[in-house]
């Protein structure tokens, strides 16, 4: 297992958070918008770079983490879109 178990657990927690369906506009402002701050974007970008797997030699654990991480991105983007449309 190459993926660090702390990274795994942190991504799981974020996944569980942004997978929530009933966010109010205030919740999105407080919980989703901070993810767009430069520091956070840099950090997530570093994680993404590290998670890129070699398609000819897939590291299973890393791939599953990458998949979950991309879903976190998807859910966050969806929440943001809702926020922008409402505002």
């Amino acid at each position: 297992m190459n993926s660090d178990r702390m990274t795994q657990a942190a991504v799981d927690a974020l996944y569980s958070l942004y997978n929530r369906t009933r966010f109010s506009v205030d919740d999105i402002r407080d919980l989703v918008c901070p993810m767009l701050q430069e520091d956070t974007i840099n950090l997530l970008n570093q994680l993404y770079q590290w998670l890129i797997v070699d398609p000819s030699n897939i590291d299973e654990a890393k791939y599953l983490l990458l998949k979950k991480f991309s879903e976190v991105g998807g859910h966050t983007a969806y929440a943001l879109m809702t926020f922008l449309i409402i505002n």
Binding site: T7, D12, A13, Q46
Partner: protein, 296 residues
């Protein structure tokens, strides 16, 4: 019903019944036992679960540190059975005695205890909570806090209790929890959320049943402990195990807690900080001031 009626138990734990249980466990686990003998012993161990003294015997077996962990685990399974299947037949005093034993076992946990013993204690605690927390068990939160204050081992045990409680109360597939669904649901929100956030979100809530202890709530305690785990950048095994346990507990509770409480307790910041603190082979990650967490 002396087995649960008397909080001090019927004897010193070396009663005939206690010895018989030990002999039966020995037969079951001895590879040299004949098949017929092993089946007899297994049957005996199953039947004894309904004995009136079984919960007390369970407590003494589970407390017997000189015995192998498998014997202690069997002791815990006797308590578990009593709570799951015989609960409605117990008087308030007997229920109180059972809770006292489980709290004692939790409090006496040690760092060296195997994970399956710790998990079983947490599981039994939650079985009790589902049946009596907020009804006659009003100081559960205070007892959890007392455990939390003991050691990192106890903190991990408390986290297991919180995680299991969250899974069973909000997971929709536990019938016992479903019977008291709305009460347990409210009690969980109450103990996890900081008091000021609770007052802001639910100004008209019913304060008559007070299940919480302390103003900060479990989210703050978890976030603060997570800060300690990753705080100074030297992540030893104990801190890492503890951090992972907190994150796993967060995964469960984060899907239902009041969103505003995640902001005020800095929970999300600290979860992100774990990404920066993790052992990734890229040491390029610049830990910005936003993610560095002061150690209290």
């Amino acid at each position: 019903m002396s087995g649960v009626g008397n909080p001090n138990g019927p004897g010193d734990g070396t009663s005939e019944l206690h010895k018989q249980i030990l002999r039966a466990l020995e037969v079951v686990h001895d590879p040299r036992s004949s098949n017929a003998l092993r089946q007899d012993a297994s049957r005996y161990l199953e039947e004894i679960r309904s004995n009136e003294e079984a919960p007390y015997q369970g407590f003494t077996l589970a407390s017997a540190r000189k015995q192998p962990a498998i014997v202690r685990h069997y002791g815990l399974s006797l308590l578990d059975y009593a709570i799951r299947y015989r609960w409605t037949g117990y008087s308030p005093e007997q229920a109180e005695a059972l809770r006292g034993w489980v709290v004692t076992l939790a409090s006496n946990s040690e760092k060296e205890d195997p994970a399956y013993i710790m998990n079983k204690i947490a599981e039994i605690w939650v079985e009790l909570a589902k049946r009596s927390w907020g009804l006659e068990w009003m100081n559960m939160d205070e007892l959890l806090f007392a455990l939390w204050s003991q050691s990192v081992t106890h903190k991990i045990l408390v986290l297991s209790v919180l995680e299991t409680l969250s899974e069973e109360v909000f997971g929709n597939d536990d019938t016992t929890a479903a019977l008291r669904g709305s009460d347990l649901n409210k009690a969980c929100v109450e103990v996890f959320t900081p008091a000021d956030v609770l007052a802001e979100y639910f100004p008209a809530r019913d304060n008559t049943i007070n299940t919480r202890f302390g103003k900060e709530g479990w989210l703050s305690r978890m976030a603060e402990l997570l800060g300690w785990c990753i705080g100074d950048g030297h992540l030893d095994d104990e801190r890492k195990t503890c951090a992972v346990k907190i994150l796993v507990t967060f995964r469960s509770i984060i899907s239902w807690v009041v969103p505003g409480s995640l902001v005020t307790t800095h929970s999300v910041n600290r979860i992100c900080a774990c990404l920066a603190a993790a052992d990734m082979p890229i040491q390029l990650v610049r830990i910005s001031p936003r993610f560095s967490v002061p150690v209290k």
